[in-house]
């Protein structure tokens, strides 16, 4: 059994990694909300093209800051997304930047609902949860089809204009670096351990077969088998937890 002191230290280190994501996100959120207020942008009155153009200009420097800042090694992409406008003609706007091989580039998504490749972010929990509840979200690991087309974790905070949530500011976690750093923290424990999300999916683990993205127990086993977790410590407010794993066999 891991000793309580070490476990406590590991929990704090893991939480610090997650908190650093939100710190970066909240700076961008504040920056964009201030710009929208200062420029008196009425998101309801602008067309999707106009709003996208505005967001592109206002968020570009914030994206550059996030993707080249201090804790940027854990962040692969960031942007702002809005679903607002008169009920009859609600329109989607999205701007997004990614870093690949140390180069930051804008990435365009397909927002045409008649297209096979339509990136319908309204149904993604990282968008719908902050928009509905005004609370931050942490989604994944999941495969972001039509977006990154790779395994990712997305963190998001609401974007509020005149007291109304109109969208989100979000970031994609750079999975390889983030997972490697979490795994290194887990190595300090003397038993196998994993970081899991709210639906018990592996974020990082020291157990060889439990790779990022897999459920802790498969769908078929979920009901029948006992969970391999022997103890669970909550991390941050998003349902993530550190779980200690029973030895195999």
């Amino acid at each position: 059994m891991a000793d309580q002191d070490t476990t406590g230290q590991v929990v704090s280190s893991l939480e610090a990694h997650v908190q650093a994501l939100y710190d970066a996100l909240e700076r961008a959120q504040v920056g964009l909300e201030q710009a929208l207020a200062a420029d008196e942008v009425d998101v309801e009155q602008r067309t999707s093209e106009e709003l996208t153009e505005y967001l592109r200009g206002a968020f570009r420097p914030l994206a550059a800051q996030i993707l080249s800042g201090q804790s940027s090694g854990h962040i692969a992409g960031t942007g702002a997304l809005v679903d607002a406008g008169p009920a009859a003609s609600r329109q989607l706007s999205m701007v997004w930047w990614v870093r690949r091989n140390e180069v930051v580039s804008e990435k365009r998504h397909n927002l045409n609902p008649a297209s096979d490749a339509f990136y319908d972010f309204r149904v993604a929990p990282w968008f719908s949860v902050p928009q509905r509840t005004g609370r931050p979200a942490l989604t994944g690991p999941y495969i972001d089809a039509w977006g990154l087309d790779d395994l990712t974790i997305t963190a998001a905070v609401p974007l509020t204009v005149k007291g109304e949530v109109v969208g989100v500011v979000a970031l994609d976690v750079a999975i390889p670096q983030f997972v490697a750093d979490l795994s290194q923290e887990l190595q300090r424990l003397d038993v196998d351990a994993a970081v899991v999300n709210a639906e018990q999916r592996i974020v990082a683990s020291t157990a060889p077969e439990l790779t990022t993205g897999l459920p802790l127990t498969s769908r078929a086993q979920a009901a029948a088998t006992q969970s391999p977790a022997t103890a669970s410590y909550p991390l941050c407010g998003q349902g993530w937890a550190l779980v200690l794993l029973a030895p195999e066999g």
Binding site: H109, I143, A145, G213, P215, A220
Partner: protein, 260 residues
């Protein structure tokens, strides 16, 4: 900060440079596919001819020939003057006519091979999805299957079909399966509207894929794999028959299920 624009994988695949000898017909097919998949939407302006030719790695003359063919088909409209340029138009008949053109450009062996590959991706995706899918994946799959069953036309049915299969690969938590499924969208999806002209086929395939979603929900990996594979295989068989056209009496018509 560099502001190069990256775009979706589908777009990257469609606009990838052609092999050594890019032919007019290949450029026409790529652009028509981009329009039928909605990657180029009604009213979108095409990049200028020099840029587009460079992107496809074809001679400017080849691109001009391709645009002339698309203009005759009513898919590209060229306006002169200051606000001029080439714009996309989407005629209603495009999905079926383009589907037939692509179907005829494939040999029966090619078609069989592509269908086998699609069934392989679908089956493997279903297997891993049954072990790994999130509840949210399952809900999306069930909704897409139902939408396919009640789709009002062949183009909408095709869209729900491809989105179902790509969601299935995403639910498998596999980047490689997702990428393979998206590549198939470009290589295979243009012919799918042909099988979905019949409302009964939309209904049957929708019901079948709904069952796949339920098998994924209950974690029945082997059954999910088998059913997803069979549905894709049946679509492949329908396409081979469509490609062959009406059959003479006394020849082999619909073969039905082959013994397994």
């Amino acid at each position: 900060l560099v502001t190069d624009v990256l775009s979706t994988l589908t777009r990257d695949v469609l606009f990838a440079p052609l092999d050594a000898e890019g032919r007019t017909e290949t450029v026409v097919n790529r652009l028509r596919t981009a329009v039928t998949l909605g990657v180029l939407a009604d009213g979108n302006q095409l990049p200028n001819e020099v840029e587009l030719a460079a992107q496809f790695n074809v001679a400017p003359g080849t691109l001009r020939e391709a645009l002339a063919i698309l203009r005759d088909e009513g898919i590209v409209e060229t306006r002169r003057g200051r606000a001029g340029g080439s714009f996309i138009r989407v005629p209603d008949s495009l999905h079926v006519s383009h589907g037939l053109a692509i179907l005829r450009s494939m040999s029966p062996g090619d078609l069989r091979d592509s269908s086998d590959w699609r069934a392989t991706i679908a089956g493997s995706s279903a297997y891993f999805a049954a072990e790994r899918a999130s509840d949210e994946n399952v809900q999306t799959l069930a909704a897409l299957a139902d939408d396919l069953g009640t789709a009002p036309d062949e183009a909408t049915a095709r869209r729900h079909d491809t989105r179902f299969h790509i969601e299935l690969a995403a639910a498998a938590q596999s980047r490689r399966l997702s990428t393979a499924a998206i590549n198939l969208q470009v290589a295979y999806a243009p012919v799918l509207p042909l099988v979905y002209e019949a409302p009964q086929v939309r209904k049957d395939v929708g019901a079948g894929l709904r069952e796949v979603a339920e098998l994924v929900r209950s974690g029945a990996a082997d059954q999910a794999r088998r059913l997803a594979w069979e549905i894709a295989d049946e679509t492949g068989r329908r396409l081979l028959q469509l490609r062959a056209g009406p059959r003479r009496p006394g020849t082999r018509g619909r073969t039905g299920k082959v013994a397994k």
